[in-house]
Amino acid sequence: MGIRATIAVFLVGLGTSAHAADSVEALASTCNNCHGVNGVSVGPTMPSIGGLPQAYLTNVMLEWKSGTRFSATMGRLLKGYSDVQIADLAAYFAKQPWVPQAQKIDDARVRLGAQSLKRCEKCHGNDGLPRDGETPPVNGQWADYLYLESLKYRDDAVGMSNRQMRGAMKRLSDEELRAVSDYYAGQK
């Protein structure tokens, strides 16, 4: 016990940056509980995060940490992570493959979604795969999650900072939002 305690104390003294790099997998495994192994979610209301752009991941996590971006749950988690850990997590999950999820989608809704895309496709592409390296891909993302996310942008009380998204989401009807969510969810 004495020896082990000595080692433990010594290791802690090495500083957090070395350790964040040391165990980024261990750190990232705390995210698996909600976002799936390697960031591939199997719970339709939780987003897959593996393979999202590093810049996007870094940005949303830092904004949640600082409180400038609304979140239901994530802000309270991120406040407990250092900026170095956030950078490590963003790099780690960005490196994982983006895995579109096969899910039950409504064909009629997909057809309606294809007609309602004009507010979305400029940034997210008509296949859900943006090419700017910053906008998150939405192809094969969970339809339930996409729809729930749109609710944040529609509710002025939430106050999402991205004005373009707020405008776009408000101009679509609830039915159209579900349709676009299903459309993108169905893209491979």
Binding site: T6, A26, N33, V42
Partner: protein
């Protein structure tokens, strides 16, 4: 992982720490190393899966009594009819596919000196490392007149999900309008700290949804406060008016005795007649841990905060509801599935390091726990811990409960009610798939 560990190792060696063999990670000198995991709930399943995932050569055996696991999280929603028990069930096929030996048996004794676990079926398993995740057992004697037999027949506690969950649901459905549903809450700590209050909410949701609005939900509590209290009270007022009443311990809320025939709950000075009497008995660590001498005077396993290794016996790691862990005594980790799973992952890191003769890696502990108080009305509590100065501390700048008063309340509560469901699917897959 190995590069920096090796550097750490070399620095540790330079400190004069003797006799650490420099193995390549998980390439063991003395043949196949064996890890036994006792208990196949969230904690045990996660431990078995991550051991095998991170060290495929390891011999991992999981001992579990039941062929199907039923999640306690979201089982209150089954009582109210907002969820199905079958959605909470999972088998062990996923772990078997990963190469975990799953033995459907019961661990009856641990010999820490010989490093063996005896099973009811007669097998004796030898281990190099043992993970105990036995969950909780109930102290039925804690409430006079209550017994295990009553729990399995007329008075289900339903605090382990399964047949009792459905039995309690039936009793709720049969309760006439104007009836009283009593929930007796034991002294803490108990598993799922917000569980009894979420249950009260779900019972009220059922009653409201079925027009039985003259009914009452009475929480008789041995404690003077509870998890997410402000959030629950707001939800109760918003959705159920005065249907739910909470009686704290200080106001004679502690149930000390029941009469099962008349469904009467007795406190020290009062008595309350119920139409449905739901007694949750006091808890302690699973009996196998108690019998192995791993528990303290309060009935819980004490562990090294940074590794989850038992402070009583070397080479035994205890995770989940049966241990006391966290920034004690103020910020212990709650007995939740999420906590159990992060503890299991830390234990796996520590075990693999031990078997490879290396120091344990930095541990990361978080907890996220959702409750659904009404349809589209969920909220959560978050805990984040970190190591500072060699100690595990609760990160006070993080964590806490969902915002109580906010103009965005409708959206916020809906999101977290939905997240609760997605969370369960992911954590079940994280442990069992």
């Amino acid at each position: 992982m190995s590069r920096l560990n090796r550097r750490d190792f070399l620095k540790a060696a330079a400190l004069g720490v003797p006799a650490l063999a420099l193995h390549a990670p998980w390439a063991f000198a003395n043949g196949k190393q064996r890890v036994v995991v006792v208990g196949g709930g969230f904690g045990g399943a996660a431990a078995a899966k991550y051991l095998k995932m991170m060290a495929p050569a390891l011999d991992v055996t999981l001992v579990e009594r039941n062929k199907v696991y039923v999640s306690c999280p979201l089982s209150n929603e089954v009582i109210s009819g907002h969820g199905e028990l079958k959605d909470l069930e999972v088998g062990y096929g996923g772990l078997q596919k990963r190469g975990v030996n799953v033995l459907f048996d019961e661990a009856t004794a641990i010999d820490a000196a010989k490093r063996t676990v005896s099973l009811k079926g007669g097998t004796t398993l030898a281990y190099d490392a043992l993970v105990l995740s036995p969950g909780i057992d109930f102290n039925y004697a804690g409430v006079e007149g209550y017994t295990e037999e009553l729990a399995n027949t007329d008075l289900p506690h339903a605090y382990k999900a399964g047949p009792q969950t459905l039995a309690l649901k039936k009793q709720l459905e049969a309760m006439p309008d104007g009836g009283t549903f009593i929930i007796a809450v034991p002294p803490g700590p108990f598993r799922c700290p917000p569980g009894p209050y979420e249950r009260a909410s779900q019972v009220a949701a059922y009653l409201k949804g079925h027009g039985k609005t003259k009914s009452k939900v009475l929480i008789l509590d041995a404690n003077d406060s509870f998890s997410k209290k402000g959030l629950f009270e707001q939800a109760w007022k918003t959705h159920y008016g005065s249907m739910i009443e909470w009686v704290p311990g200080a106001s004679d809320g502690k149930v000390v005795k029941i009469d099962p025939k008349t469904k009467t709950a007795y406190t020290n000075f009062g008595e309350h007649k119920a139409d449905v009497l739901n007694v949750i008995p006091p808890h302690h660590a699973g009996s196998i841990a108690k019998n192995a001498g791993l528990t303290n005077d309060k009935g819980w396993c004490t562990v090294d905060m940074l590794t989850m290794e038992s402070t009583v016996q070397k080479n035994i790691w205890v995770v989940g509801d049966s241990c006391v862990h966290g920034d004690l005594p103020v910020y212990p980790m709650p007995k939740s599935a999420h906590a159990a799973v992060t503890q299991a992952k830390v234990a796996v890191g520590a075990i693999l390091a031990r078997l490879a003769g290396q120091p344990a890696p930095t541990p990361y502990f978080v907890n996220t726990c959702y409750s659904i108080a009404a349809p589209d009305w969920g909220f959560s509590v978050v805990h984040v811990y970190r190591v500072e100065g060699g100690k595990l501390i609760y990160a006070q700048e993080a964590g806490g409960i969902s915002v109580i008063e906010t103009p965005a309340i409708t959206t916020l509560r809906k999101l977290e009610a939905e997240y609760a469901v997605g969370w369960l699917k992911n954590i079940m897959a994280d442990c069992f798939a």
